[in-house]
Point group: C2
Chain length 189, copies 2
Amino acid sequence: MKFCSECGSAALEFRIPDGDTMARRVCTTCGAIHYQNPKVVVGCLPLWDEKVLLCKRAIEPRFGLWTLPAGFLENGETIFAAAARETLEEARARVEVGPLYTMISLPHISQVYVMFRARMLDLDFGAGPESLEVRLFAEDEIPWTEIAFRTITRTLRNFFLDRKLGAFPTRVSALERRVPREPALAGAG
Amino acid sequence: MKFCSECGSAALEFRIPDGDTMARRVCTTCGAIHYQNPKVVVGCLPLWDEKVLLCKRAIEPRFGLWTLPAGFLENGETIFAAAARETLEEARARVEVGPLYTMISLPHISQVYVMFRARMLDLDFGAGPESLEVRLFAEDEIPWTEIAFRTITRTLRNFFLDRKLGAFPTRVSALERRVPREPALAGAG
């Protein structure tokens, strides 16, 4: 933000407003306080028999890597509707959105991931404009070293573990800023 | 938004950008697309023995009505940290944040409520600057007709029901725009 969206002034400062506890962009011309808040990314884990539907990204970031269908929650939308919409847009797949499965805070990029389990209604799927390819994967086919985001790796790893255990509790967690890892551990979590 | 926050121009239009599916504010001077997304409200249900801690609001909206401690998730913050921070700010209470309990979409105001169960660590609580009064309530003392928000009524009603049933599954739901109700039903949901 370089200009005040209320009055157009460039006289913005970054300070803690009276009565607040966090620094905000404040317009010194009109007094408007500009709040910024985290975004919610909603998606699902579409299942057909024992297989999971993944999308190969056709956009940055992480072009060419695999992900579950997910995207930003829009104004005016429920989280259920967002999960179904993203799955239709990215994987051209129709799902019945099931129980909430993982919710993962990413404070360093101010995002919260919300992932549902979902049942595919048919096998009529394909690449939407943001995907290069969409495919069903059995557990032993998952391209673990080519997964686009740590939230997706965590959701998939939890899922295959919970499936062995026979229960899918809602799993709430956080991922902090990535620390450099040994190459041998890449893709491990 | 009346001016572009990137270039200060007032030449904004509301249209669907190329490749997008929803209308956004687009600057016709510099081309910036201004996205707006739902906000996350995080809070908790602080428990001491059989009682729940409620706050009487000292601010609008719903001045003078009772609520659970909750507020907007901030950039850079996990949902656990936000739940604890809001409880400290509004009720001056220290809690151990427990399992995720309710998650409620409010599409008509583009918010998502995320409420955790929480255990109060001590009885040293009191009104923060946004509260008139903070009090522990047993189930039969809850001021049902003076609860500030439907998300809070739903969370409290679910809680007392689930406590009788002996289990607290994560409950994900949505509340649409309020429809006028019979006065006799006010506070019922």
